[in-house]
Amino acid sequence: MSDRIEVLQGTLDLIVLKLLRSTPANGWELTQSIQVVSKGVLDVNYGSLYPALRRLEAKGWIKGKWGVSENNRRARFYELTSAGRKQLDTERAAWERFSNALGLILSAD
């Protein structure tokens, strides 16, 4: 357990936007993707995902729709809007600048 990292406040938004970029997904699928893609390193409190989804929807970056899940049940699927796509690009650029800078500082001396 100790080798897992808790997701920082705010980065969850970026992760969700990135994961929704390729294909719409429901909440549970998102949590699974986070696990799989981060190779189990990131520890997401699944409960905090739902407020984040609503926040993103209120900002107009994603849109939720009821659909049928792969096990044939009613589930809410989220997809990226065009505003969300733009937001992803800016947030991603900002993040890369930040992590580059952090890398420079940490690798100095």
Binding site: W28, T31, S48, Y50, A58, G60, A75, A83
Partner: protein, 878 residues
């Protein structure tokens, strides 16, 4: 931004469904997670527990998710409104008191706003009214000019920034013994305003093609209903106007009364000006009179200033070179978008009323603020507990303000009802008290409430709530209320201080309003007994067309009961006399008033000649050539303070802009001095310098003044009959001088009456305020009074103690109010001549009334201080 708003709005409207969906979504997650865990080989119970564990706190997550989509403040507002409504249901007397108190104050303001809205804010029902401007120009010497008909025609063709223009003149006349007011307008009038006929057709440029042609008339909808009973066969019928036969071609749509606060009753082509006026101008003096007014529609993209500048340049070019002071100084553009344009005069006339009403409103708010303060003290235990439990102060203040708004809304409703009643009553009272001869001229415009009035009511009610609710809310949520709620008061806690300050403010305002009312009401009595300087009774005034004038005068002189017939260029009481600039041996360019009169004028209206002699008949026939003039006593004293006026000479300035008819009186010698009399308007003091020049009895365009032997009201009808027998339709206006006088006194009288009503309302509110505060103070100090009585204090001593406190407040308020009233009097003195603003009796009466009322209002509750039962008061858990 917008999508966020929509999501939240949906969440607000379908809260239940949204919450159910969230639950479903989370339930799906848990089930799916459990399924996966089972698939990995866990038992069903372990799988579910693991799913829950990895989800975290389900309730918190759901709560957080729900909050994201909510407007917290809106839900809190709903809670607050709900809570307030519930607590007020238990206190209906409070709601009723506030509704009436605030409703009365607000009602006055809503009434004023309804009038202001109807006249000044509501756009006229014509095409694009905001582009319409009434145009005139001012010379450098300040004289106002309109246009000659020829100028108007050429401006219409020139490009001065207007896409369209129409010319007009107003026409006062009498039809079948009834006064009518209409307009002569150019043929494009209806087309330019986009006003279609309700019946028949409207006027077209073809009707206005050539002078004297186009004997047609369009009636207003009201005239059609009232005078023709709404008969649809009216088109094609004939009616006589000023002796000219006109064909009725159509009826204007309902609600259309032209571009004025004064709804017109008919429209006739401007080409009919000559035959309808029947005026033969004093030809040699003014060959083309400036008798045409003009309204232009600004072309798109042209500002009023640009159009004014271009028209100014056009006029500079067009006007003949004259003295520099008669050149154009400024073109005036008055918006015709609404019935009444906003002007400094309008603001000056209405601001005292609005200020007085506003003060009444403030007194009402102070009353309610005091009630709310008392309520806050009663609730301090509740508030203290909530603060102690960690409620935010701003949250509590917001809740209390919400309560105030909830209280103010029924008050707004009451105000609205009061305003409707006041308008209805006011209109009736006006028609009932106006001199009967003038009521046909009074046609109020539509005063029905519209959206703007409703918004005003709502906005003003909320503003009132903030005014009476803020202080009590701040007071009730003071941080030290927590200690106070435990009964732990320290010496700095003085809740009565604020309440006392509010009462002092009320008493001051009340003294101010009552003093103004007292002074004005006393002047109202004076105005009714005002002496215009001449004998107003038994005089009939008449305006007739020129062609039959001489014959009418002859007929009148034969009429039994007629003592004297005279003529004057200005009525004795019909608006101020015109001005002229004169030079004398000692002074130059003095501006004085003048009137042209026949020799019989002075005896006809009973104006005595104090010194010197009257004009002779031959001087009257000679007019300007006679070279004689009479002056009033005021002029004699003003122009020649030391010497004798008689024999002095007066020369009118040779100024092209002056009214043509005075320039004929090149140089005149003073032959007599007449008594001072109101110069056309009772608002002007009688000793303002006035010159009387001679004119023949039958002088054109003059008013005919008839002195009769008996009752003027009866004789007015006989005089009119005699004149119409000579020539039907020749009488344009006829009045008794007494009712002209009553008409001029009317605005003063109604203004004073209004001041009285405002004063009484203010006093009533102040009395209830004082009563409430003293009553509450006594109730609050019951325990203290009980102890004092137990220790041997005499009941009368306690009553005196309370009364002394009340009197101290009254004295302070009284001193402040008097100071303010003296200041206000200075302001009034500048506006109202003839009102003695330092009328000592007015002050004393007002002060005594307010003071006495305060004492009585304080005495009633203070008696309760003496009746406190010591044992009961000490036992009671207060």
């Amino acid at each position: 931004m917008l999508s966020g708003f929509l999501v939240r709005l949906k969440a607000l409207l379908f809260r239940r469904r949204m919450n159910a969906e969230l639950d479903e979504e989370m339930r799906y997650h848990l089930e799916r997670d459990t399924e996966r865990n089972v698939a990995r080989g866990m038992t069903t119970t372990d799988a579910a527990a693991a799913a829950r564990r990895s989800f975290g706190n389900l309730t918190v997550a759901a709560e957080q998710a729900r909050d994201v989509w909510r407007w917290l403040w809106l839900e809190e507002l709903r809670q607050d409104v709900h809570y307030a409504a519930r607590s007020f249901r238990r206190a209906p007397s409070l709601v009723a008191t506030v509704a009436i108190t605030i409703g009365v104050g607000l009602g006055l303001l809503v009434t004023t706003f309804t009038l202001f809205n109807a006249y000044v804010l509501r756009p006229l029902a014509v095409r694009d009214p905001y582009a319409l401007y009434d145009v005139g120009w001012r010379a450098r010497n300040g004289a106002f000019h309109t246009f000659t008909h020829d100028q108007y025609a050429r401006i219409t063709r020139a490009d001065v920034g207007f896409s369209q223009t129409f010319g007009y003149r107003n026409l006062f006349t009498r039809v079948n013994g009834r006064a009518m007011v209409g307009q002569l307008v150019s043929g494009n009038y209806f087309d330019m305003l986009g006003v279609p006929p309700a019946l028949g057709r409207v006027m077209t440029p073809a009707d206005d093609a050539a002078p004297g042609a186009g004997s047609v008339i369009v009636l207003s909808h009201d005239t059609w209903l009232v005078q023709f009973g709404g008969d649809s066969g009216v088109v094609g019928r004939h009616m006589r106007l000023n002796g000219v036969q006109l064909t009725i071609i159509g009826v204007a749509p309902k609600g259309f009364g032209g571009l004025s606060e004064w709804p017109y009753e008919f429209w006739v082509p401007l080409s009919m000006a000559e035959p309808l006026s029947g005026w033969k101008r004093i030809g040699t003096l003014a060959k083309s009179p400036e008798d045409t007014r003009m309204v232009g529609r600004l072309a798109t993209g042209v500002t009023p200033d640009q159009a004014a500048a271009r028209l100014s340049a056009w006029l500079q070019n067009d006007l003949p070179a004259g003295k520099p002071e008669s050149r154009v100084s400024q073109v005036s553009m008055v918006s015709r978008a609404t019935s009444m344009p906003i002007s400094p005069e309008l603001i000056a006339a209405f601001s005292p009323i609005v200020i007085a009403f506003g003060l009444v409103m403030l007194i009402a708010c102070a009353n309610v603020a005091n009630m709310m303060l008392a309520r806050g003290i009663a609730r301090q235990r509740e508030v203290g507990i909530r603060l102690a439990l960690g409620a935010g102060r701003s949250r509590l203040i917001r809740q209390m303000l919400t309560e105030s708004v909830v209280l103010a809304l029924p008050a707004g409703l009451v105000a609205f009802v009061i305003s409707r009643a006041a308008i209805d009553l006011g209109t009736r009272a006006m028609l009932a008290t106006l001199p009967a001869e003038y009521t046909p001229y009074v046609r109020p415009i539509d005063l029905a409430p519209d959206v703007r009035v409703l918004f005003f009511v709502l906005g003003a009610a909320i503003a009132a709530a903030v005014m009476f609710g803020t202080l009590p809310a701040l007071q009730a949520t003071r941080p030290d209320i927590v200690r106070a709620s435990r009964g732990d008061f320290d010496t700095q806690y003085r809740p009565s201080r604020l309440r006392n300050a509010l009462v002092v403010a009320q008493i001051s305002t009340s003294v101010l309003l009552m003093t103004c009312a007292g002074v004005l009401l006393r002047s109202a009595r004076d105005a009714q007994e005002l002496d215009p300087g001449f004998q107003a009774r038994e005089v009939v005034l008449m305006e007739v067309l020129d062609p039959p004038r001489a014959r009418i005068i002859e007929a009148l002189r034969m009429e039994p009961g007629v003592r004297d017939v005279a003529s004057a260029s200005s009525y004795p009481l019909d608006g101020a006399f015109p001005r002229v600039e004169i030079n004398t041996a000692t002074d130059s360019n003095v501006r004085v008033l003048y009137n042209l009169v026949s020799p019989s004028y002075f005896s006809a209206i009973g104006l005595p000649i104090l010194r010197g002699r009257n004009f002779t008949e031959s001087e009257a026939r000679g007019g300007g050539a006679a070279g004689t003039v009479l002056v009033n006593a005021g002029a004699a004293k003003y122009l020649w303070p030391a010497g004798d006026a008689i024999g002095q000479s007066i020369v009118p300035s040779n100024d092209a802009s002056m009214r043509g008819n005075v320039r004929a009186y090149r140089s005149a010698r003073v032959i007599g001095v007449v008594a001072d009399a109101a110069p056309g308007w009772i608002g002007i003091s009688a000793d303002v310098p006035v010159l009387y020049y001679p004119q023949p009895l039958a002088a054109a365009t003059s008013a005919i003044i008839v002195r009769v032997a008996t009752d003027a009201t009866v004789m007015r009808d006989r005089v009119e009959r005699t004149a119409t027998q000579v020539d039907s339709g020749s009488v344009q206006e006829i009045h008794t001088l007494a009712s002209s006088f009553a008409l001029q006194a009317f605005p003063f009288r109604s203004g004073y009456l209004l001041a009285g009503v405002v004063g009484i309302l203010a006093l009533g509110l102040t009395i209830t305020g004082v009563y409430g505060v003293i009553g509450y103070a006594v109730a609050q100090r019951r325990r203290e009074f009980g102890i004092r009585i137990a220790l041997g204090a005499r009941p009368t001593g306690l009553v005196a103690h309370v009364l002394r406190q009340a009197l101290r407040l009254a004295m302070i308020g009284f001193a402040i109010g008097m100071t303010l009233a003296l200041g206000a009097s200075r302001g009034f003195a500048a506006i109202l001549q003839g009102v003695n603003t330092y009328d000592v009796r007015g002050y004393v009466i007002a002060a005594a009334v307010v003071f006495g009322a305060c004492v009585i209002a304080a005495y009633l509750p203070s008696r309760r201080a003496g009746k406190v039962n010591a044992v009961e008061a000490l036992r009671a858990d207060s």
